[in-house]
């Protein structure tokens, strides 16, 4: 499948600070691609360079057949963008915001009105279309901003933390719509620090820290890298202390509320040890789960400060 986004040796320096440090990657047409990383990793700077808002210090970006530095208008014409913490014009109504976006993308008036009404219905905002955005909740505003990014029938959607700080209903609606638009052929590039979101939505993820890409692959492939260190989650009827898990095959113990997560290489031996312990102490096991490594485990490993993964 052809690449629709291509970043080559992308670098952004602010005085002596390297926000993005020579990254290269490509996104295939029709993919949902996630850029994961902690705050300050360089995700937003990367997305701003990809969308032509910031000029890279070095490197090149290609969007479709366009070079973003040389043909920024043509490239932007095929993109929809939801910047981080972006807001709509709060003194304009929802429909006026959408029609303004239509005008900025050069869409004909009749087509723009039809598209705006369709999007308002899709995002459950049609009833409030004539209300000023300042009366909207955060979730409603974010839905409107996403609708604005879809006004131009974009081939690529850039979403910078699209569900950050939203209520559950809005998050679910936005995720469903992201999947829907992707199924219709729209390529999605999203940045997030919500690992579960990336795991749920993305075909591929890149994990970024200190302005560098630490890993890039399908979520399941990344998980398989550390699969050898699986874990068991156990809960006993009577609460126990951490010290009871003193067993040579358990390499790490984490207390998670009333449960414990035990890491090790030989799961069978650990489970056998737990059953033994339960029988000896007459303390019933009320829950026992074998956990596969999560994307969060990969993320933590890769974004650790010692970078020794």
């Amino acid at each position: 499948m052809e690449n629709i986004i291509k970043a080559e040796r992308l670098k952004k320096n602010y005085s002596s600070f390297n926000a993005v440090n020579g990254i290269s990657f490509a996104v295939k047409k029709g993919e949902i691609f996630g850029l994961l990383g902690p705050n300050g990793a360089g995700k937003t700077t990367t997305i701003r360079m990809l969308t032509g808002i910031l000029k890279p210090t070095e490197g090149e970006v290609h969007i479709g057949k366009y070079n973003i530095q040389k043909e920024s208008m043509e490239a932007r014409q095929i993109m929809g963008i939801v910047p981080e913490m972006a807001d709509a014009y709060i003194d304009l109504s929802a429909i006026r915001n959408l029609l303004l976006t239509g005008e900025l993308y050069g869409i004909e008036k009749e087509k723009s009105i039809k598209k705006a009404e369709d999007l308002l219905k899709m995002f459950h905002l049609y009833e409030k279309r004539n209300q000023k955005v300042k009366t909207f909740s955060k979730g409603m505003k974010q839905r409107l901003i996403l609708a604005m990014a879809l006004m131009n029938d974009a081939d690529i959607l850039f979403l910078d933390e699209p569900t950050s700080g939203l209520d559950v209903e809005s998050v679910r609606l936005i995720r469903d719509l992201i999947r829907k638009f992707n199924q219709e052929g729209v390529t999605i590039f999203l940045t997030t620090h919500n690992i579960k979101e990336a795991d749920l939505l993305c075909d591929r993820v890149a994990i970024m820290n200190y302005g560098k890409i630490m890993a890039i692959d399908r979520p399941e492939m990344l998980k398989s890298v550390i699969k050898k260190t699986s874990s068991v989650e156990v809960a006993f009827k009577n609460l126990v202390e951490e010290k009871v898990f003193n067993f040579k095959e358990i390499i790490e113990v984490k207390k998670m509320g009333d449960k414990f997560q035990l890491y090790g290489n030989k799961m069978e031996d650990i489970i056998f040890f737990l059953i033994n312990h339960s029988q000896k102490t007459n303390n019933e096991i009320i829950s026992l789960k074998i956990l596969e490594p999560s994307l969060e485990d990969i993320f933590v490993k890769l974004t650790q400060k010692n970078e020794n993964f």
Partner: protein
């Protein structure tokens, strides 16, 4: 992308600015009252003929009306996170700035026509002339370009920019022959040559009194040069400060 298409998109920004920032009762009243009050407070107890007063009032009203809101639009939109959305759309930065300029020009022309009408109806002053109409439009673009130039530093607090605007705008009024004709300014008149407001006031004097310091052609020419210069510098500076704005 064709210039005409960019101009259409620029006009969308103009309409947005007009409905958000200008077409509000308080802004319209301020646009009319502030120059009137400043002017009246200055000319009180001074012997000044109507013919002398009206050009100064026109110049000041246009200058205030056009440059009042433009400097704060960009910092305000940076703060409200709408500017990033605007610059990420397929509209050149010059077209975005031109859209802001056109909104203030339309507002300025509305304020000035109100004053002109009041002058004609209430005071019987003969004001309308082709050079003045043409000059008013150019001057409105010129003063508005100055306003956008003031907003170029990457601030997101409108109050910071308002301070810079006041430091620049108020001295300009006093060196531009608004209250005192250039001929009576002595050696300070050299300063007045660096202010675009000088040439607009001079043009207004020519249209009303029939005499002026410069010829109307020179006034129009210098105003045009100032307009192009200020617009180009404003665009260049905004481009440069864009990286620091986000």
């Amino acid at each position: 992308m064709r210039i005409f298409e960019q101009l259409k998109r620029s006009f969308a920004i103009t309409k947005k600015d007009l409905s958000i920032y200008y077409l509000k009762g308080s802004v319209i009243i301020q646009g009319l009252l502030i120059p009137a009050f400043v002017f009246i407070s200055f000319i009180l107890k001074r012997e000044m003929s109507l013919d002398m007063m009206i050009p100064g009032l026109l110049g000041m009203a246009l200058f205030f009306a056009v440059s009042a809101i433009t400097p704060v639009i960009t910092p305000w939109e940076t703060r409200m996170r709408t500017f990033e959305r605007l610059v990420s759309s397929p509209v050149y930065l010059w077209a975005i700035i031109l859209g802001d300029i056109m909104a203030s020009v339309l507002f300025g022309l509305f304020v000035v026509s109100f004053i002109v009408l009041a002058g004609i109806i209430l005071l019987g002053v003969e004001i309308i002339s082709f050079p003045l109409i043409f000059g008013t439009i150019i001057a409105a673009f010129c003063f508005s370009s100055l306003g956008t130039l003031i907003s170029a530093p990457p601030a997101d607090k409108p109050s910071d920019i308002m301070l810079i605007a006041s430091i620049i705008k108020f001295p300009l009024i006093f060196i531009s022959g608004v209250f005192i004709p250039i001929t009576e300014m002595g050696v300070l008149k050299i300063l007045s040559f660096f202010s675009p407001l000088t040439y607009y006031t001079d043009l207004a004097r020519y249209s009303i009194q029939g005499t002026s310091y410069f010829s109307p052609v020179v006034d129009l020419l210098v105003l045009s040069v100032f307009t192009i210069f200020l617009f180009v510098i404003a665009v260049k500076w905004h481009e440069k400060s864009l990286d620091k704005r986000f």
